[in-house]
């Protein structure tokens, strides 16, 4: 052994080396790596403030399906669930010149296993006197032309929600009654009526459809832009929420916020408490008394009401609230248990030996006592990271945190508020939860590895 290794595993370099050596450490670093790369990607592709305004803009998401499952959900239930269909490139025919009537014909095929969720027509027109009148027809797979509705646009930009029109439902019910020969025994909603095979099975008619809009203008110079969208039931990799917002946006941009909140809170609180406890135990006397009495006072303060009160008075952002949280948790119960450990370690002979070779108080506190009492502190640190992330969600629930901030806690909170589990939108809860669990697992694994380094007895010889 000529080239002996003299690096102490206690340096930062040594710790990183040990972490990389173990499978658990590598796995946790891998998860961290993914989370960090995703965060960096998110923040580079769109700045956080932009996302925040976009997230809270109710007009931005109109063309997205509401409460759509993520696309991969279809793979698990073995059904080809409908995606959004934007009807484009109409064939335009002129029916008459005076009054000017144009006919827009959209041909498309529909091969999905489920009904679409909505059918909206976005209209933009310019007119001189009166807005144009629209007559909407539907040609189904059988080739039957059904009159749906006649409606006048109410303003220059208007949206027809075909799913909400009762006259459409009546017209479709009439058509199906004709086909069946009796009044349909099941309710006909607009979506069902449009895509149903007219028989008892209520199955979906797959094939080619045509959607026809006849526009009657009041003046020759009037124009119109029509954008019909058939909304699907799946969207993207994460689905959408009740406000049609794609969840991946909230998750991707909320993840770093949560990570920073949890990590910042638990790291700073644990480290400050550890140092306070060690100083209290090591120096004793007046310092000890002061820290212990302060801790007892702090432990009596009601934490949550105080947080709510402060944030209601001062309307704090999440980061200012983090500072408040740290200040409110400085003298926590951790100081009591850690001080007890310090008092035990303080009397060990190696501390006395350190004093005989001249180690300063600071050195003894940071290099001799804290590493010795660190192992039992690490699990607490790890457990507290996800718990601070959940605290963030709880504070969101109480309306304490900025409700416009997209965070994982907010998303879960939204899901609960809108009965996601009751209505079967499991993805809405599962996705942010999985991210939180992944964070927790990777912190736990990293904690175990560091535990092994700090407490070499756990190391395999």
């Amino acid at each position: 052994m000529d080239n002996m290794e003299f690096t102490s595993s206690y340096s930062l370099k040594g710790i990183i080396k040990e972490v990389i050596k173990s499978k658990a450490g590598l796995f946790s670093l891998f998860i961290f790596f993914i989370l960090i790369v995703l965060s960096i990607y998110a923040y580079l592709s769109m700045p956080y403030n932009e996302v925040k305004t976009l997230w809270n803009d109710s007009q931005a998401w109109l063309k997205y399906p509401r409460n759509a499952m993520p696309s991969w959900w279809a793979f698990f239930i073995g059904k080809n669930l409908p995606k959004n269909i934007n009807l484009q490139e109409p064939k335009i025919e002129t029916i008459s010149d005076n009054p000017k009537i144009l006919k827009y014909v959209y041909n498309f095929s529909y091969f999905y296993d489920d009904f679409p969720s909505e059918f909206n027509i976005f209209l933009k027109s310019s007119y001189k006197n009166n807005p144009p009148i629209l007559r909407v027809y539907w040609i189904n797979t059988k080739g039957d032309k059904i009159f749906l509705i006649e409606k006048q646009q109410r303003s220059e930009a208007d949206t027809f929600y075909l799913g909400n029109e009762t006259s459409i439902e009546e017209n479709l019910t009439k058509y199906i009654q004709e086909k069946l020969g009796y009044y349909p025994p099941f309710p006909i909603s607009a979506m069902k009526g449009l895509f149903i095979e007219p028989n008892e099975n209520q199955s979906i008619a797959k094939g080619s459809y045509s959607f026809i809009v006849e526009v009657q203008f009041s003046d020759k110079s009037d124009t119109i832009e029509i954008e019909p969208i058939i909304y699907g039931k799946v969207y993207g990799i994460a689905g959408t929420d009740h406000l049609r917002r794609p969840l991946e946006l909230g998750i991707l941009w909320g993840m770093p916020v949560d990570l920073a909140f949890g990590l910042g809170a638990s790291l700073s609180i644990t480290i400050i408490q550890l140092i306070l406890a060690t100083v209290s135990g090591w120096y004793g006397g007046v310092v000890d008394n002061l820290i212990q009495r302060l801790t007892e006072i702090y432990m009596l303060l009601p934490f949550l009401p105080l947080m709510i009160m402060i944030s209601l008075f001062y309307k704090l952002t999440i980061w200012k609230l983090l500072v408040v949280l740290i200040i409110l948790s400085l003298f926590g119960s951790g100081i009591k248990t850690q001080r007890a450990m310090v008092l035990q370690v303080k009397t060990l002979p190696y501390i006395e030996a350190a004093r005989t070779y001249g180690a300063s108080n600071m050195r003894i506190v940071f290099l001799y006592i804290i590493p010795k009492i660190l192992p039992p502190v690490i699990p607490g640190l790890i457990i507290s990271i996800p718990s601070y992330i959940f605290l963030e969600a709880i504070l969101s629930l109480f309306g304490v945190l900025d409700p416009t901030e997209p965070t994982l806690g907010r998303i879960i909170e939204d899901a609960f508020q809108n009965g996601a589990l009751y209505k079967g939108f499991y993805y809405w809860v599962i996705e942010p939860s999985i991210i939180i669990i992944l964070m927790a697992i990777s912190f736990a694994l990293l904690g175990f590895v560091i535990d092994k380094i700090v407490n070499p007895r756990l190391k395999e010889i």
Binding site: M1, M4, E5, F6, S8, S9, Y10, L348, P349, Y350, E352, A353, A354, R355, T356, Y357, G358, A359, S360, R363, Y368, P371, K372, V454, N455, P456, R457, K459, I461
Partner: protein, 328 residues
């Protein structure tokens, strides 16, 4: 070698621990060390022998300035270190080493052997990282932890008790101190490794011409080990003499009792009843008036109960603190 130079001089040293502090009553003190005088020359070894609670450990630690002396003086190479503040003691820390009783607790569990030995050098800013490496290897070779590469990166829990104690000794001598205080260095070890460790300590002391204060309750290990034997009882040094002189001519009744308690290897003596002083060591909060040994002493006289005896020089290099003897 100027072996006659005095390295350490202790004058009337008192270490009292305050145990009760109330507004009404007088503070009470445990008089752990109460008026100790001695000199230690360079390259000499002192064995400090006494029962548990006699104050020998306190004396050793006070010499290392782990405890604050209440009264008296400690002179190290004629420099007064009695009341030097912690920050001005750095030079003294380099001159002293400490070998502790419990090797299992004396090594920081989270440091490797290399780091354990490097710490004193880092703190006292000795050498560069490279030269430290050499010093550490040399120290490990000296305590016979060879091959060094087998031990240098190990953690304390991977070592046996004897190996740990060798690391403790290596740490004590890594700064090449002039004085080592060894506080019962073998009492926690297996009987099989005791002699090895003591031999090692003796060799190192001889090779480096260091002074050694060897604290023990076991007179049997002292014989071949030290130049001087100091007998301590209830915070006082009751007798001090050169090893041969003390063993052949013990004067103080307590010394005699201690010597007679050494197991005798001669089988013909197996039925001989040994005289053991009755009773127990006194309470150091409120020690007996006069000679502190008088309640247990079979030669006690009236004066022993009233007046504390002075230390008298009986012969060359032989002092005793007892009313039975007179100067000269």
């Amino acid at each position: 070698m100027n072996n006659n130079e005095i390295l350490l001089k202790v004058e009337n040293l008192k270490v009292w621990f305050e145990i009760r502090k109330t507004i009404i009553s007088q503070p009470l003190y445990v008089k752990a060390v109460d008026g100790v005088n001695f000199e230690l020359k360079k390259g000499e070894t002192i064995s400090l022998v006494g029962e548990s609670g006699s104050g020998k450990t306190t004396l050793g630690r006070t010499i290392l300035r782990l405890y604050e002396p209440t009264d008296g003086k400690i002179l190290f190479e004629d420099k007064d270190i009695t009341n030097l503040p912690f920050k001005e003691l750095n030079w003294y820390r380099k001159e002293t080493g400490f070998v502790q009783q419990d090797p299992f607790g004396a090594l920081a569990p989270h440091f490797s052997v290399y780091r354990i030995l490097e710490e004193p050098l880092i703190i006292n800013k000795i050498g560069t990282p490279e030269s430290r490496k050499e010093m550490i290897i040399k120290a490990l070779e000296e305590v016979k932890l060879t091959p060094v590469s087998d031990f240098i990166n190990k953690y304390p829990h991977m070592l046996s008790g004897g190996q740990m104690q060798r690391v403790v000794i290596a740490r004590a001598l890594i700064m090449k101190p002039k004085l080592i205080v060894a506080d019962e260095p073998v009492s926690m070890l297996d009987a099989s490794v005791r002699i090895e460790i003591l031999d090692l300590l003796r060799d190192i002391q001889m090779n480096h011409n260091m002074s050694l204060i060897y604290i023990t309750h076991d007179l049997a290990t002292v014989r071949a080990f030290s130049d001087w034997i100091f007998i301590m009882y209830a915070g006082n040094l009751v007798e001090r003499a050169k090893t041969d002189e003390l063993l052949s001519n013990p004067l103080h009744p307590y010394t005699k009792a201690l010597l007679s308690a050494i197991p005798d290897p001669d089988p013909s003596n197996r039925f001989k009843l040994r005289e053991v002083p009755p009773g127990e060591p006194p309470n150091l909060i409120n020690p007996p008036e006069g000679c502190r040994f008088h309640p247990r002493c079979s030669f006690a006289m009236e004066i022993c109960k009233k007046e504390e005896p002075k230390e008298i020089n009986i012969a060359k290099d032989h002092w005793v603190k007892c009313w039975l003897y007179k100067e000269g």
